[in-house]
């Protein structure tokens, strides 16, 4: 038998009788399950999720659900086809035994796999002080249960809402509060909202947007403590500038934590940044060697990106979860020559303060920005990000229909600044520093250190920065 026909037979046998386990029952997990069936996998498929709910969509949770016009139960993701899977919902995966190829579950069950897809995503980073985070009225928003509770709290008419952190989610929630007519304060340690993702130039515009809408935005300020009444309900916040606020609802929007704990000890390249994988979604082991049977998709995946100097990038973008799931599914049921790379052009969107924000590429990879179309003053514009003379990202405010143009430029590493449009050119369309946070400034992110003195005690350790 020739090698080619042997491979074909192996693939056919696996598709007919293999066992695939997907850990993570959200967008990436569901779409991967569908893609597996779509592409001819007929074997046993198990989907494990720690939430009791069927896969649901998250973007509405920080917008329509909080506003109250979409019920949290109505965000279930549409099923694109029957997946005929064994759904193990409401039970978390707690461990991975790679030697015996088993996923260990919280209820003691062990699920056998031939191939595994890790799609456990991220969770909300809670407020740093656990005692304060547990107070009544202190929230994070990641799950539909979170959104249900926060929606109730907002609609109960709090005196003031405090939102800690002004990334996309925090800003969207501040926008919702304004719409609901609730007094809202946003604290942000950086110079402005969205600065991490889009830089200070856009941050200034976002800050004006918030203030114009009536948000009490306080930048360069941290929350030092949350204080409760006798009933254990949060009533006051103390800020680093000495101010105190009377608040009934506090939402921590401090980014996310990757759900990697269950992989501890499994010997994979997993940690703070996610699970490292190649562009074919195959997980790396702890030594940086690619595995053959373990795949990664969605928010937790961290892969080198050709457009961005092969840096390992993880993307918490809706599109990335879908396309990653499809590529992972394809590669799980094929061998070498039929495998394809996951080379997404990152895309993201946000809706806040009546403005539709859309972006493409990795804007924070750039160091310069140029307004290319429209009017920044009117908050209707397109802007491109550049690094070393090439375009690496773009963002639009109420100009989303132009995004395809910028996508094409980014895909072919076109020169920066891009050629000027034939009309509607902003005044002063010259590149300026994009003002991303200085990478030399320490952040909350833990750092890795080597400890021990002699070779036998040397080891790596994550340490939280103070």
């Amino acid at each position: 038998m020739s090698a080619a026909s042997l491979v074909a037979e192996l693939v056919a046998a696996f598709r007919a009788e293999g066992r695939i386990v997907i850990v993570g029952a959200s967008l990436a997990g569901l779409r991967a399950a569908e893609a597996l069936r779509e592409r001819g996998f007929r074997g046993k498929l198990t989907v494990i999720g720690d939430e009791p709910h069927e896969p649901y969509d998250r973007p509405p949770l920080s917008k329509q659900v909080l506003e109250g016009w979409v019920h949290p139960d109505h965000t279930r993701l549409p099923r694109r086809r029957a997946v005929n899977a064994d759904w193990r919902l409401g039970v978390a995966a707690t461990g991975l035994d790679r030697v015996n190829r088993q996923v260990l579950l919280a209820n003691g069950d062990k699920v056998d796999y031939d191939r595994l897809l890790i799609a456990t995503g991220v969770r909300a980073r809670p407020w740093i002080n656990p005692r304060e985070a547990a107070l009544e009225g202190v929230f994070t928003v990641r799950t539909c249960d979170d959104a249900t509770r926060l929606q109730a709290a907002l609609h109960a008419g709090p005196r003031r809402v405090l939102i800690i952190g002004s990334g996309f989610i925090g800003s969207e929630m501040a926008s919702v509060c304004c719409k609901l007519g609730l007094p809202v304060t946003v604290t942000e340690r950086a110079d402005g909202p969205l600065v991490g993702a889009l830089g200070g130039v856009i941050g200034d515009i976002a800050a004006r947007m918030q203030r114009d809408a009536g948000v009490d935005l306080r930048t360069g300020v941290a929350v030092e403590a949350l204080e409760a009444d006798d009933g254990g309900h949060v009533r006051q916040a103390r800020l680093s500038d000495g101010a105190t606020l009377d608040v009934d609802v506090v939402v921590a929007s401090l980014g996310s934590i990757r759900n990697v704990e269950w992989l501890e000890g499994a010997g994979l390249a997993s940690g703070f940044w996610g699970v490292g994988c190649d562009a074919g979604c195959r997980a790396f082991d702890i030594n940086g060697v690619v595995t053959d049977n373990i795949f990664v998709a969605g928010d937790i995946a961290r892969a080198p990106h050709v457009l961005y100097e092969y840096q390992f990038i993880s993307m918490e973008h809706w599109d990335n979860a879908v396309s990653g799931a499809q590529v992972a599914a394809n590669n799980m049921i094929n061998l070498e020559t039929e495998r394809c790379p996951h080379l997404p052009l990152p895309m993201f969107w946000s809706a806040q303060f009546g403005v539709n924000i859309k972006g493409v590429g990795v804007c924070s990879f750039g160091d310069e920005i140029v307004f290319t179309q429209g009017s920044p003053c009117e908050r209707r514009f397109a802007a491109a990000y550049g690094r070393q003379g090439r375009i690496v990202g773009a963002v639009t405010f109420d100009h989303g229909k132009w995004l395809d143009y910028y996508s094409a430029l980014i895909e072919r590493s076109a020169p920066f600044p891009p050629p000027p449009p034939g009309y509607d050119q902003p005044a002063g369309a010259t590149p300026i520093p994009a003002r991303f946070p200085d990478p030399r400034v320490p952040t909350e992110i833990p750092t890795v250190v080597l400890t021990g003195h002699d070779p036998t005690t040397r080891g790596a350790e994550f340490r939280r920065r103070s």
């Binding site: 290319t372 179309q373 209707r380 132009w402 395809d404 094409a408 009309y423 509607d424």
Partner: protein, 425 residues
């Protein structure tokens, strides 16, 4: 065949029923120069790229087209009509940002979400009622032959756009003739150079002037005495961020919307009926599975794009695409009808497949000029087709191909005679 010949043949009235072989010929070079200062884009991906390229202008005042194609001081009627001179303001389809964006916002406030989310859905009972009444009338005539265009497809969108705009339906017979003459006179192909072509153009110019005069009076009236409908809302809007639209601009946009409601949707409905009857089994398929109707309509729009192209665009800079450089200042036709049959994008592109997966055609345009009336048109076509499928028994085409309207921009049957067994209640 040279590209110049292929282009001329595609634009000739004699080939109106089937210009597609000539588009296929042109598509061998997805972006190609067909005349001095004129480039046509027939490749799907190239068209999408240019539809989103801010170096392509839609402002007809920048296009060399009128002067170039007419070859003399007198531009063809329709093109002149699209232009803005003599105090005229361009409509949204022939203008660029920021004016385009502002005007589109002003119109959308009264036409769709988020400010007027109920307007289009609220038309549904009226559309269904009208469809049924039209079939009742045909049935009452006790004839088994009727014209799908005049007897059924035409009255629905016209009645609805009149209602939405606030144009008296009673005036329809008058402006119907104007719009017909206006579009008949709008010819950028070789037929324009004949004596008949020049006569049609002259008639079209007069009709365009009459239509504008009529709309200007109506709008002036609404300015002094606000009434129901988009035109009145448009010129009296003091709530929106952009204020009221100027009367001159409102006239241009009223003309655009009235023509689109008059023509494009009529053609789309007729194209749907024609395509279903041309393809054995598809009428029955949709009858049994009405949930396929929306997809079937999109597939018809892909195959028989009601707007084949719109001749206002030009390049504001040298643009390199598909091994061609479109020079600054050249006119650029984005041929939706040709791109929709690009075999590198759609498998078996000439075949009708109502269940076609991944049918992301450009029949409604793409980019900032994406059809503003698309949601209304989709509702109208859905309901007219659904009613037709339910009530019309065993329809057969009498002539195939049917006689076509003259326009190569808004392409569709002039008449579509069908024989039926009977019309049920």
């Amino acid at each position: 065949m040279t590209v110049e010949t292929a282009w001329a043949e595609a634009m000739t009235y004699d080939n109106r029923a089937d210009p597609y072989p000539f588009f296929a010929e042109l598509r061998k070079t997805p972006v190609v120069q067909v005349a001095d200062n004129l480039y046509v884009v027939t490749g799907y991906r190239e068209l999408l790229a240019l539809a989103h390229d801010p170096r392509i202008s839609s402002d007809v005042r920048r296009s060399p087209l009128a002067a170039h194609l007419a070859g003399d001081a007198e531009p063809p009627a329709g093109v002149e009509d699209l232009q803005a001179h003599g105090g005229r303001q361009p409509s949204i389809i022939v203008s660029d940002p920021p004016n385009h964006d502002r005007a589109r916002r002003q119109v959308m406030r009264h036409f769709g979400p988020p400010h007027s989310p109920d307007l289009i859905p609220s038309m549904e009972p009226g559309i269904v009622g009208l469809c049924n009444k039209l079939l009742d009338d045909i049935k009452a005539r006790e004839s088994t032959r009727f014209d799908v265009v005049d007897d059924y497809a035409y009255p629905v969108p016209v009645t609805m756009i009149c209602k939405i705009l606030g144009v008296p339906r009673a005036d329809e017979p008058t402006f119907h003739v104007w719009i017909r003459d206006l579009l008949t006179g709008l010819d950028l192909g070789p037929d324009a150079a004949t004596d008949e072509g020049r006569a049609r153009a002259a008639k079209g110019r007069a009709a365009g002037a009459a239509l504008r005069h009529y709309l200007a009076e109506l709008i002036e009236q609404y300015r002094h005495q606000p009434g129901d409908g988009l035109l009145s809302d448009l010129v009296n809007d003091t709530e929106g961020p952009d204020g009221p639209m100027s009367p001159q601009e409102a006239v241009s946009n009223a003309q655009l919307l009235l023509v689109a409601g008059h023509d494009s949707t009529v053609n789309t409905i007729s194209n749907c009926v024609m395509t279903l009857l041309r393809n054995p089994g598809s009428f029955e398929l949709l009858r049994q599975r009405p949930e396929l109707i929306p997809r079937a309509i999109e597939e018809v729009q892909r195959l028989q794009s009601a707007v084949q192209f719109f001749p206002s665009r030009s390049a504001t800079d040298d643009i390199e695409i598909a091994d061609t450089v479109i020079p600054k200042g050249a006119a650029v036709h984005l041929m939706y009808s040709a791109a929709n049959r690009d075999p590198t994008r759609f498998a078996n592109p000439d075949q009708y497949d109502p269940e076609r997966p991944d049918n992301e055609h450009v029949g409604w345009g793409s980019g900032i000029h994406t059809c503003i009336g698309g949601p209304l048109a989709r509702l109208e076509v859905n309901l007219t087709l659904e009613t037709f499928l339910r009530r019309v028994q065993s329809p057969r085409l009498v002539d195939d191909p049917p006689p076509y309207r003259r326009s190569h921009i808004f392409r569709g049957p002039l008449h579509l005679m069908i024989d039926v067994d009977h019309i049920t209640d």
